[in-house]
Amino acid sequence: MASSTALEAMTMGTAAELAAQEFTCVVERHRPQIFRFLLASTRDVDLAETLTQECFLKAHRNWGSFRGESTAMTWLMRIAINLQKDHWRNRRMQFWRQTRTNSVDLDEASEWLPSGERSAEQKLLAKEQVKRVWQSVKGLSERQRTVFLLRFVEEQELSEIALATGLSEGTVKAHLSRALGRVRAELGGKR
């Protein structure tokens, strides 16, 4: 009787260790992507870092209830999207909590381009185009922005976006189409 209890305790301990190891792997694998999505959504490095930490904290608490119906990435992204929504909602309600946003401006966000084999003129042009895309993204609704970033920055499939956002694929397509229309208009209108 005593030996079976000890065996059970050992098995449970091993299972917990395995789950912890598994979760550590998940964090290492998906943290950059979650941070990147939140950074692109908020343009605020500190906020993106905070929300990423909250996302993994929440995921850790609920890791036991994750049944693998979707990929871990989709599940984490769903948590991140909800945290971001909550943040904006709280911020609207408690506007006095922070006097100003820490979001970087569009010029600063557009500075980041990998140094490929481009001429100075090509780099300038690319920077200008990126700035216009940022400009369009800034003007999108929250849903449109989320869908747009998941598709064109995270390169997720429509079905994954639908799962992560809780929208139907048709709605995702509609949001994406409108978002893309705005980007196209921004690029075309100022060309």
Partner: protein, 159 residues
Amino acid sequence: MSLLNGWTRNRNGMREQEALDRMADGGLLDQPLDETLGQALVDFKLSVHAWSEAELGRPRMLAQGVRQRSWRLAASVALGLTLVAGGVSGGVYERHQRHESARIAAEARAAEQQRLVAAEKARQDEEDLLAKVDSDVSRETPSAMEPLAQLMAEDEVQK
């Protein structure tokens, strides 16, 4: 699986139509994805990736950030309280001033009223006095003066 890899590779002369086809297959686009838009989206993606990687690699100064935020929050609360206190005291002072002005005006009105009443009373007294003088002056001629009075009357008749 990359949506925009076609465009990325296109820079190096590879598979430029792939991304367009895949997007069109997804039924996302009413219009074909032109080169400018495709390239802008690729650059945007690369830009976000580069930014994110740079920020992830940078050592974070969380304590300082928190401290800065706390200071900012404290400063904003202090500023807000100052503004509220200023607004309230300004309002109270304004109200007090208004009351004071009203009181002074009321006093001035009462004084004016009293002055008018006093003037009216003085005028009335003066009129009474004059009437009394008139009545005193117009008393009957004393008997000793009666002959003179008759003479005056005759003179007036002769004229």
